[in-house]
Structure formats: C-alpha cells, structure tokens
C-alpha cells in the first residue's frame, strides 16, 4: 500500500489513480504545490536569483573600491549596498539554497514520501519572495534602503536609521517565520519519516547536519525576532532597550544580535559539511572516514556556537572575564572542526580519486574553508582582535568561510545532484571551467583583503588610503571575474535541464545512498512505499 496522495484538495480520499499523477500544469503548479521536489526547486531558483542580486551589489561595491576616491556611487548609496549585499546573501542566497537542498534531498535520502508537513513547506517558501520583495523595494523609497550594515547595530539602526528600517524589521520577521517553519518541517521529517531500518546513525551526514542546523534555527531565529522587535519598540514606542539614557545599553543590542548571529554562521556552514561528506566519499570511492566522530563533531560545534557570541564584540568594552571566556570557548571550536577536516582528508587518503566538478568544489571547500577557519582562530584571540576588528581582515575571514565554504558547498551539491534532479549530465568541461574561474576569481578577490586588513584598512568605507590601491584593484578584478563566472553557472544549469547525456539512476559509481536507488530524473512522487534499509 502506498502513501495516500490526494488529488483533490477538498479531500475525499481518492483511491483511484493517485499513484501515478504527475505535477499540475502551468504557473499554479508552483504557487499551490505541496511537493517537496517542486518546493526544493523553487528554493534553489530563488536562492540563485538572490545570489545574482546580492552579487550585483557586491559588483557595485568592488567597482567603487577599484580605485581610491569616490568614483561611481555616493557614500550613502555605498552603505545601502554593503548592507543589502550582506542581508541578501545571508538570508536570501545561502540559507534558502540549503533549505532547497534539504527539501529535495532529505526525503530522498531517508526514504520518505515527502516532507512531514507539505503545506507548511509551501508557506515557508513563499514567505521568502514576500520578505525580500518588501526589503528590496525600500531601496527605491525616498529615504533609501537600510544603510546600517547587515548586523544593524543600534543606535545606527534605531535613532539614526532611515524610515525604511521599519520595513526591514518586518521583512526580518517574515524571513524568521519562514526559517522556523522550514526548520520544524525538517526536524519532523527526519525524526518521523525515516524508512524502516534507517536508524539515526545510518542517516547520511547531510541529514544529520541538517537536523542539527534545524535545531539551531529554531533556537536562534526567535531571538532575532525579539531583537528586531525591541528595535521596533525603541524606534516607534519610546522604549529604551538600546539607549543608555533610559537605563538600557547599545551593547545589549550586540549581545542579543550575536546570540542569534553566531549560531547563524553555523547554520550557513553545517549543511555544506554534510553535503561534502557525501561527495568526497563518492569520488574517493571509499566510505567516509569517522562517520560517528563526524556526527559528534557537528553536535559539538552546534553546542559551542551558543557560548561564543561575544567574540564579535571584543572591542566594545566587555569585562576582562568575558573576553577570556569567549576567547577560550571560541578557540575550542577548532577541535571539532579539526576532526572534520581530518576525516575528509583521511577519506581521500589512498582513495581512487577522480576530479569531476562536484569533487573539485568539495576539495577546494576543504582547503579554502580551512583557511577561513585559521583566520577565524586569529580573530578569536582577543588581544589580537583589537588590531583586526572592523578591518578588511574580518571581511577576508568571513568571505573565506562563506564563499568557498558555504557557496562552494552549494555548487558541489548542485553538480552532484543535478543528474538526479534533471535526468541529464551537466557539461563536465563547462563545469570544470566554472570551478576554475570561480576558484581563481574568488581567491584573487578575497586573499588580498587579508593584507589590506592587517595593514589597517577599515571595512564598510567607500574610500581608502592610497597605500591600499594596488591590492584593492586586484580584489576588484578577482571579484568581477568571480561574479561574471556565475552567469556561466546559470548557463550550465539551463543547458543541463534542457538536455545532455541521459543520467543513470546512479551516475557516480562511488556514490552511496537511497537517493541513487530511484530513477534519474527522480519521479514526481518517490518512496510512496518506504524502502527497507538493511
């Protein structure tokens, strides 16, 4: 007996031809869908659109910074660009991409017919275009869009904020509702819909990392909601949460924000850890080294993420005890992260490795993410951070963990699972070209930022000292190269959807997992009868 797939939303249990019906036709298929594959696809396309939009803003930033002096935009607009670039990339590009991957892959990986709560799944997705429509539209209003940086510190975001901050707050609320519902859905799916025999410790690591990510999301998105709600109250209802004149504290804003913000950075990287842990074994043709330790390392990272937030605030004036506690706690994160890097390297050790595009991105992920981790260790050392704080060194650090970390993880996943999604192989030559152009462009853009940062170039400033001119020009050229290359990715994906070599059910001979037991492209409904996992 297969799952009940109702064809009539009024719902009078059709038993007839339920089992073979495909997607509805036209636009309404996408608007009304409850299918995890449709919703996953929408998340991925939305994420890519936001990636291009946020990327265009990065191009504006890099064009302005191509040379010292003010060339292209006014400082006011520059501030809106840095703010919106950050917000769009974090909440619009990276997070939805992982939710899209979760939607597509988690039911396939655990042998479930769909996500646990399919209608709420659709709601989670559609809130995102609404939230970003609201947010981006403020760029065109009289006072301009948000201009206080993506971390929106008070009082810049309260007392001195443009009018659009009100809509920014509500947009964050909508995104938060979307994330919480999405995360609840993932948890319910993983805990309740696994196929018989799929015990927790047999789950693919992508499922594990997403389970832990979902927990982080449910724990910290409400805190972000509380944070922006207090801003709203300070702005419109005369409260003094972030104003010392009434007994509040602007530093309090940073505590609340980073209590959300630090787990948030793991929310953006843990699913990538999981995906890479599927991809490296596939192309090294060896099982993952240290599966159990990977699970425990992920859980440890998630736990530590709750007690390190003030390392973002070493220079704002917190007590010495706090500086020391948060420094040591932060340095501890290197241990579980080191376990992971060690396991990936050991998986590759003496493997029969081939370097198809997903593997290239995955290997680059391991190496470059580790560089970002190392600069993170440097920043974690409180006394040293007094020098690095708010410089381009910080920008270099978090772009190394986000671009070759999160985003390369997403690219690796996309190439790895595109054959399953589309039924066609992507163009391997173009894929490799995409990888190398991204790899070179991204290193060229972000590596020099370490140097200018250590030399003292402040972040979020449209103009800079002449002494930083050469490195900035290199950065900008690299950024343009990286940016333009992503249009190639768009082309590769469209080409793959429209045709190409038909993909086998399991196109990668070393791959493992339930998702490769269904045909490529994956049928509209899969695992209506749960598979038996040995």
């Amino acid at each position: 007996m297969s799952a009940v797939i109702d064809t009539d939303h009024k719902g009078h249990g059709h038993a007839g031809d339920d089992h073979h019906h495909g997607p509805a036709k036209g636009l309404m298929r996408w608007v009304l869908t409850t299918n995890h594959k449709d919703i996953g696809t929408m998340y991925l396309w939305f994420s890519f659109a936001m990636f291009l939009l946020g990327g265009s803003m990065a191009m504006v930033i890099r064009a302005e910074l191509f040379q010292p002096g003010l060339q292209i935009v006014q400082p006011e607009f520059f501030n809106q660009m840095t703010t919106m670039h950050g917000l769009i990339m974090v909440f619009g590009a990276v997070m939805p991409a992982f939710v899209g991957l979760a939607n597509w892959m988690i039911p396939l990986m655990i042998g479930a017919p769909d996500m646990a709560l399919p209608r709420m799944n659709n709601f989670s997705f559609w809130l995102l275009p609404a939230a970003f429509g609201l947010l981006v539209s403020t760029l065109f209003t009289a006072g301009g869009g948000p201009n206080f940086g993506w971390t929106f510190y008070a009082p810049l975001s309260t007392t001195y904020a443009p009018e659009s901050v009100t809509f920014f707050i509500f947009a964050i609320h909508l995104m938060g509702i979307s994330s919480i519902m999405g995360a609840i859905n993932v948890v319910a799916t993983i805990l309740n819909l696994r196929a018989p025999g799929m015990t927790l410790m047999k789950m693919p690591l992508f499922v594990w990392t997403w389970l832990i990510t979902a927990f982080l999301l449910i724990a910290v998105m409400p805190v972000l909601a509380g944070c922006v709600t207090m801003m709203l109250m300070d702005i419109h209802f005369g409260t003094s949460f972030f104003s010392a004149a009434g007994g509040g504290d602007p530093v309090l804003f940073q505590h609340v924000f980073w209590f959300f913000g630090h787990p948030e950075v793991y929310i953006m990287i843990l699913p990538a850890f999981g995906a890479v842990s599927s991809i490296i074994p596939a192309f090294a043709r060896k099982p993952l080294f240290g599966y159990t330790s990977m699970v425990y390392a992920t859980a440890s990272i998630a736990f530590l993420s709750f007690i390190v937030w003030a390392h973002h605030m070493f220079t704002v004036g917190i007590p010495l005890t706090g500086e020391l506690f948060f420094m040591y706690a932060t340095l501890l994160i290197a241990v579980p992260t080191g376990v992971k890097v060690f396991n990936w390297a050991s998986t590759m050790w003496r493997g029969s490795m081939t370097f198809e595009t997903p593997m290239l991105f995955a290997v680059a992920f391991v190496i470059l993410f580790t560089i970002g981790g190392f600069s993170g260790l440097m920043l974690a050392i409180a006394p040293a951070d007094f020098q690095y704080h708010d410089t381009y060194f910080v920008v270099a650090h978090f772009h190394y963990v986000l671009v070759p970390g999160a985003i390369f993880g997403i690219f690796a996943s996309a190439y790895f699972w595109l054959p399953k999604w589309t039924g066609h192989m992507y163009d391997e030559t173009l894929g490799k070209l995409h990888f190398w152009m991204s790899f070179i462009g991204m290193n060229m853009a972000f590596f020099p930022m370490h140097f200018v940062g250590l030399a003292g170039m402040p972040r979020r400033i449209p103009d800079y000292n002449m002494m930083f001119a050469n490195f900035n020009m290199v950065s900008s050229i690299g950024a343009f190269m990286f940016g333009a290359t992503q249009l190639l990715f768009l082309f590769i994906v469209i080409k793959c959807i429209r045709g190409g070599k038909p993909a086998a059910a399991k196109p990668w001979d070393g791959a493992d997992g339930l998702e490769w037991t269904v045909p490529s492209p994956a049928p509209y409904h899969t695992f209506q009868t749960p598979p038996e996992v040995k």
Binding site: I5, D114, L174, M221, M233, L252
Partner: protein, 295 residues
C-alpha cells in the same frame, strides 16, 4: 517507525499563498502606519492596509485549520501523521520559549551588568561618567536622562493583582488538566465545564492585566517610555498577555469543537496542542511573576 503504510501527502493547497499575501499586506500596513505616525503624517493608509491584511490572515486561519480538521475527522491521518503534528507543535513551543528567553536575557543583562555599570559599580563602572549623578537601583525609579525618559513614581505591587493573576493562571492549568482527564474518560459534560472554566480564568487574567496596565499608565507613570524598567515590564508582560490571548482563542476553538462533538478519548491532538500551549504560557508567567514583579 512501524506505520509507514499510510502517509497523507496533501495535494495542492491555496492556503499557504493566501497566508503569505495576508502576512505581507499586514506587515506592510503596520510599517506604513508606524512610519506615518512617527513622521506626523496625519492621513495614513496604514491602518486600512493592516486591517485588510488582518482579514486575509483570519480568513486563511479559518480555511487552513478548517481543512485540517476536516481531513482529520474523515480519517485521513495515520498515527505517523499524528506524530508529525506532535513534533511540529513541540518545536514551535520551543521556538516560543527562545523568543521569551531573549527578553528575559535582556532583563537579566540590564539588572546584572548594564544597570550597575551606569551607576558606577563593577567592571565597566566608568560608564557612570555619562550621567555622573546617576545612581542605580532596581526597580529603576530614576533614569540616567529623566527628560528623555521620565521615570515612574512607583511600580506595580506584586502582592495584589499580580498575585491574584498567578492564582488564576495556575488554577487554569489545573482545570485544563481536569478537562483533559475528562476527555480521556469520555466524560463530555465535565469536559465542557472544566474547559469553559479554563477559558474564563484566562479571560479574567487578561481583564486584571488590563486593569493593571491602566493603573500603571495613569497612576504610576509606568509606561513604555519610562526607561528600561517600563520597557522590560511591558515587553515581557505584554508579549505574555498576547500569548494568553492566543492560547485562550485556541482553547475556545477547542471548546466549540467539543460542543460539536469532535475528539475521542484516543484522538484529540488538537486539544492536546492547545493544552501544551496553555501550560507553556503558564510557566512563562511563573518566570515573569518571579523576576519581573517580585524580585
């Protein structure tokens, strides 16, 4: 994981997109309203837009929950589906716990660190140079800048209305549990009475809280704008009150469903979800009573 044979995957649904549009219109209206208010623009379209959005959300809630209830009653849901709902509700309540945790965190931070520092005590007592005459005490009856944030003359006495409200809310948790036991034993009349009593206790709680708010504003000068004491007081009790309201609405819906003969001794997750929520709201109140009113 034994009952995999039947998992109800609903077909297309219009409710999510209506919910999205409803929420978007609601917040757009609210934002317009707030901005016009702050800028002193007299004729704002905000309230109207907000109202339209709110109507759409209400329509969606009726429709979506109505659909789920219909599906549930026509027997489409399996035990596994029931567990999905349970996980969903549990994690939703956990997210609410974290929402309140943010405000409790603010309260503790201000009382432990920020306040004493402004008063010149502790590691960062240097902050006292901002308002050299400022002395810290809790409840804060003098603010650093009393022109910007006029302090309250006194705060709410915990041993009158708040104590009464504690009694009301704790009793309502008991009456709700009695109702649940009655439901399990299929004693429908006691079930209705206990549940109605629970809703009444919730309503009484809200009425007393309204009286307390009026007293705070009109007699004590304790307002949202009266410094960090007023801010944390109204934020915590206000959001709690909003949650009591929501919980009472949920219980009222359950009461209506019970009057219409819904729920069996074995299958009544809708009732249980509302009950979980009510107990959660009750526990938050105990935290509030302790840390906002008494200590």
């Amino acid at each position: 994981m034994a009952s995999h044979e039947q998992y109800y995957v609903p077909a297309q649904s219009k409710w999510p997109i209506i919910a999205t549009l409803g929420l978007l219109i609601t917040v757009y209206g609210l934002g317009t309203w707030f901005n016009d208010m702050k800028a002193g623009r007299p004729e704002s379209s905000g309230p109207l837009i907000f109202f339209v959005g709110g109507l759409l959300v209400a329509y969606m809630l009726f429709g979506w929950f109505g659909t789920v209830i219909k599906e549930s009653r026509s027997g489409m849901y399996s035990g596994q589906m029931d567990r999905s709902f349970r996980w969903g509700m549990s994690w939703f309540i956990f997210s609410e716990v974290m929402f309140f945790a943010a405000f409790f965190g603010v309260l503790f931070y201000v009382r432990t660190w920020a306040g004493p520092w402004l008063g010149g005590e502790g590691d960062k007592g240097i902050a006292n140079m901002l308002w050299p005459g400022f002395e810290y005490s809790w409840p804060l009856l003098n603010n650093p800048d009393s022109k910007l944030f006029p302090a309250p003359s006194a705060v709410i006495d915990p041993w009158h209305l708040p104590l009464l409200n504690t009694v009301l809310l704790v009793s309502s948790s008991f009456t709700l549990t009695f109702a649940h036991h009655a439901l399990r034993k299929n004693h429908r009349t006691p079930l209705k009475l206990w549940l109605a009593l629970t809703v009444l206790l919730g309503a009484a709680f809200l009425a007393f809280q309204a009286i307390e708010y009026v007293e705070a504003y009109e007699e004590l000068g304790l307002t949202l704008g009266s410094g960090i004491y007023g801010a944390t007081f109204f934020m915590l009790t206000g959001f709690h009150g909003a949650h009591v309201t929501l919980g009472a609405i949920m219980l009222t819906v359950m009461l209506i469903r019970i009057l219409r003969g819904h729920f069996t001794p074995d299958q009544h997750f809708g009732f249980e979800a509302a009950a979980w929520y009510w107990h959660f709201v009750d526990v938050v109140w105990l935290g509030l009573f302790t840390f906002v009113y008494v200590l």
